[in-house]
Symmetry: C2
Subunit: 199 residues, 2 copies
Amino acid sequence: MRRTDDTTAKHRAILEAAARLICKQGYEGTSIQEIADACGLTKAGLYHHIESKEQLLVEIMNYGMDVFEERVLSEVEHIPDPVERLKACMARNIKLVTRGWSKEVTIILHEHDTLTGKSQAHINGRKKRYVRFLESSFSEAVERQLIRPVDPTVAAFAFLGMVLWIYKWFKPGGKRTDDEVAAGMVDLLFTGLQRVPPS
Amino acid sequence: MRRTDDTTAKHRAILEAAARLICKQGYEGTSIQEIADACGLTKAGLYHHIESKEQLLVEIMNYGMDVFEERVLSEVEHIPDPVERLKACMARNIKLVTRGWSKEVTIILHEHDTLTGKSQAHINGRKKRYVRFLESSFSEAVERQLIRPVDPTVAAFAFLGMVLWIYKWFKPGGKRTDDEVAAGMVDLLFTGLQRVPPS
């Protein structure tokens, strides 16, 4: 679906406002009227942009996955060295979580199992694509003997846990910048905690 | 608060049933009547056990933290070697997530920011105590030169992300046992991905 920049910005603002409200009050506890109010629209005006409350949730998740694929996946998937690919991916994904969108978009994407049927299958499919990309990158790194032989699935979910848990604790403007957190996480996973033996 | 075993089991069953319902329908979307029905109690019967819906949420979280402290923290905090302490802690915490309680207890503990005021401060304090324990164990390991010098806070949250994200993807009875996942995660964080140079 192609939109003009203006429509996209307006639409994005609606999705961000709805995400904030749904996170605060819960999906069941949020009415379309309240979302319209938060967007400065009438209910009819909001329905011009969205079909239903469930459709809005689908759109927030698809918006999250669109931004993720644009800023993270498509920027790194063609890096030939699988270790460099994974490191760049981790750093970019961390910065997406800390500054690419609102914390509420991360929450909706990862904490809301409200969708059912086709919508749920579609979003889960997009998430699974990312897991498969991580697994195959770890596999490739093991096969090319660039890293120790590890279970690619466990490594993929360790990677995801390290990256995605960040929205729970990271405070912008705190002691550490997100660049420092990203560098620290990449170093932890790829170099590990083992002391380098004195040479 | 001391309870007889019978009361504890009954109380625990109520908390688990309420957790399942709240996760499915949302906190706002779940009534006390529905929770009573799920427990096979009348509303009055349920109020014999709990004061209010918010108090129930507090109790689910405190129950989660009680079980965590009993099965994980108190079992490992006296291990003298900080690396062994952290490894044992990670393996135990993973198995708490995979089999110690329902997935819904993990979700309520980590996804629900519904509490306010004193209750929220109390639960957050209990969670923070765990973060401090991890940070000080990583610090101690760095000071004693048992691991590379890393930022203890970043290491603590990497640890937590790896452990707690597991409820999102681990399926009991799947390809990997939780023992394998626990061993894999400990190995990943503490040995890292670097290839061991041929000796």
